[in-house]
């Protein structure tokens, strides 16, 4: 039975590099530790958005059809 050939330098260096490389999971932990969490939008922003939407809906439903048609630019 022949013994396997000894691994050459490139193969050993590749194994060394693989063992020493920064794992992706560790890298992600580092990235997340640096980046402060993105703050959620404030409640007042949602309140303001809802107010604007309500106004648009109310205007659209309360405005007579001919008046709405007049708001649409003619082609």
């Amino acid at each position: 039975m022949s013994s396997p050939a000894p691994p050459d330098l490139d193969r050993l260096l590749a194994a060394w590099a693989e063992a020493r490389r920064l794992p992706d999971a560790d890298a992600e932990r580092i990235r997340l530790a640096i980046l402060p969490p993105v703050a959620p939008l404030e409640a007042s922003w949602w309140t303001e958005l809802n107010g604007k939407l309500s106004a648009v809906v109310t205007r659209a439903t309360a405005t007579p059809v001919p008046a709405l048609a007049a708001l649409v630019p003619a082609n």
Binding site: P6, D8, R11, A15, W16, A19, R31, I34
Partner: protein, 178 residues
């Protein structure tokens, strides 16, 4: 103040582009995986704090900026008392316990043993050779990219890499690859 979403995206792109090379560089400098990891985090924390400046640079400029920070942090870590002897002891211990992924317990044990020998030989390299070797192997950088990061001509990088390989091959009685 929370980051803008665009800032986070710019930072993540920078981080993903350079993290492996920076880690390899620091590993070569301090020869201690744990310390290298900490210094990677500190390096990119500084990138984050100076994101508008760094993010506006071309890629070669970004690399030079980041590696200047990493180099200064490595120097500071020496001054702070992270002695090389302690680092090497930790590295040696880890090298003997690190698992490798090859088929077969005998082959795995043999390769792990050889990698531990290689690890010891790498630690005995002059620092300038060890850094370049780590950046080329663990960092996956070309000689040109290493040269840009370290402010060295690519030819000098290739020469030192060749010296490092020759020393390792001699130390481990190995044949050189093609």
């Amino acid at each position: 103040m929370p980051p803008l979403r665009d800032d986070a995206a710019v930072f993540t792109e920078l981080f993903d582009r350079h993290r492996r090379a920076v880690h390899a560089y620091l590993l070569g400098r301090v020869a201690d995986p744990e310390l290298a990891r900490d210094l990677v985090q500190e390096t990119f924390l500084r990138v984050w704090r100076r994101l508008p400046e760094v993010g506006s640079l071309p890629e070669t400029g970004q690399r030079a900026w980041i590696f200047t920070v990493a180099r200064n942090l490595a120097i500071d870590s020496y001054r702070a008392g992270a002695t090389r002897r302690d680092a090497e002891t930790a590295l040696r211990h880890q090298a003997t316990t690190q698992e490798t992924t090859v088929a077969g317990p005998h082959a795995q044990a043999e390769l792990a043993e050889r990698v531990a020998e290689l690890d010891a030989a790498i630690r005995d390299l002059p620092e300038e050779q060890r850094v370049i070797l780590a950046m080329a192997t663990a960092g996956g950088l070309t000689s040109r990219q290493i040269g840009e990061a370290l402010g060295e001509p690519a030819g000098t990088v290739r020469y030192r890499l060749s010296q490092a390989r020759a020393r390792l091959a001699a130390a481990l009685d190995l044949k050189e690859g093609p």
